[in-house]
Point group: C2
Chain length 223, copies 2
DNA sequence: AACATTGTCAAACAGCTGTTTGAAGTCTGC
DNA sequence: GCAGACTTCAAACAGCTGTTTGACAATGTT
């Protein structure tokens, strides 16, 4: 019930960061909530930026290891054959939804992570890219193999859109309230809903992307 | 080339807010960029919060009026018949993508808006809900009529997911860079890609949402 | 036992925050 | 040309920010 100071600061920071955002959360708020001295934050982490980074890394590293492990398992089972897109989507986003369902901090963290992805602050995007690099590379390869008829650029956009849908899916009832009263208390239902949506979007017919303006499609054949 | 101080402050604020976020953007940064005196911000807007609200309202009100006008036009043409889901999606999200394609500030604003939707700060969500209320009500009604076989709760989630995809779609190349080098300079292509994805997700098969755990689906019939 | 390491704590630091003030300037209409 | 409203400006305000310091206690090592 009373871990060491370092852990208490991390937990308090995580909870406060998602409530107030990165800048609006002060070290005094964090250390007060953690029942620690103000100087303890700098003693254990060096700076506020380093503390925030530690908050992210603590769970994100584990999250992406889970994703890679899930992909490993699928690929072993498939014995070299391409995976089904649904399997890949489920392993990547399923891990995230499952973490968001975890009341013990995971829910808090996923909301924080969803926002961080489009965070303007540079140092956040910087170590986020670092943490994601390996897992993104693996999943890109798996998807390209599973969807050979989808142009790679097209897929990357769809992956990006899927990340956006995930971000909003875990963003919490506050954002949802704009649409009206919705129940977001059932993780299993959320999982099923998001998966349907993502697969539907991923497998949608390819758009006609012309290299030139939309109006009058010039059927200019290459010479 | 040199509008009045009030407009210069609004423009500078918009640009800086999307670059640094709401809290990290200071009035001194804004007024300096606007070549105005620090006190001018408070003189013209009263407070920093009111200034931010004005930045949002300036474009958001117009954006949602466009959406309602587009829906009006569709419904007049349909003469009481339900619209096609694709038409509704295109009118709602098309306006947004078109604004995001406008280099003259619209692009900046859409990135700001996408993030604001999940902003933790209360006063932002507060007037955002206010601005969205009318347009959401109209579109909900149109969608419910167009998709009578989709449960309303299911649709609201899908709408929420679509907003997430839109948010990421306009978030800019910074966020995309995590996935690798992608070209986001072609608005027409982005429009086509996003529409395909959204329609695909919207029309996806309904998920099996059980009220009880997923593992062993108990076929318990009502007494 | 004495030593070194590690952690905690109150206090202070310089710097930046949004906001207010009151005087100086600028523009109207008469 | 002068009154009156509107706008700009430099300066100051109290309050909060992240970080540092040096003294103190706790713990483990020789």
């Amino acid at each position: 019930m009373e871990p060491d100071t370092r852990s208490r600061i991390l937990d308090a920071a995580e909870s406060l960061l998602v409530q107030h955002g990165l800048d609006a959360t002060t070290l005094r708020m964090i250390t007060a909530a953690a029942q620690a001295n103000l100087a303890a934050a700098n003693y254990h982490f060096g700076s506020k930026e380093a503390l925030i980074e530690a908050v992210f890394r603590r769970r994100l590293t584990w999250l992406n290891e889970q994703r890679i492990a899930a992909l490993d398992a699928l690929e072993v089972e498939a014995k070299g054959a391409p995976l089904k897109p649904r399997q890949i989507v489920e392993s990547f986003f399923g891990v995230a939804i499952r973490m968001a369902a975890d009341k013990n901090g995971g829910q808090t963290f996923m909301r924080l992570l969803g926002r961080a992805y489009t965070e303007p602050t540079e140092f956040v995007r910087s170590f986020l890219a670092e943490e994601y690099a390996a897992v993104i590379a693996r999943y890109k390869a798996a998807f390209f193999k599973a969807l050979p008829d989808v142009p790679q650029e097209e897929f990357l956009w769809r992956f990006h859109f899927m990340m956006g849908a995930l971000s909003y899916a875990v963003s919490g009832a506050d954002a949802l309230s704009i649409l009206g009263p919705i129940d977001d208390s059932n993780p299993d239902a959320l999982y099923a809903r998001l998966m349907s949506f993502l697969i539907g979007g991923l497998r949608a017919p390819l758009p006609e992307v012309n290299s030139k303006p939309v109006r009058k499609a010039r059927t200019k054949r290459a010479a």
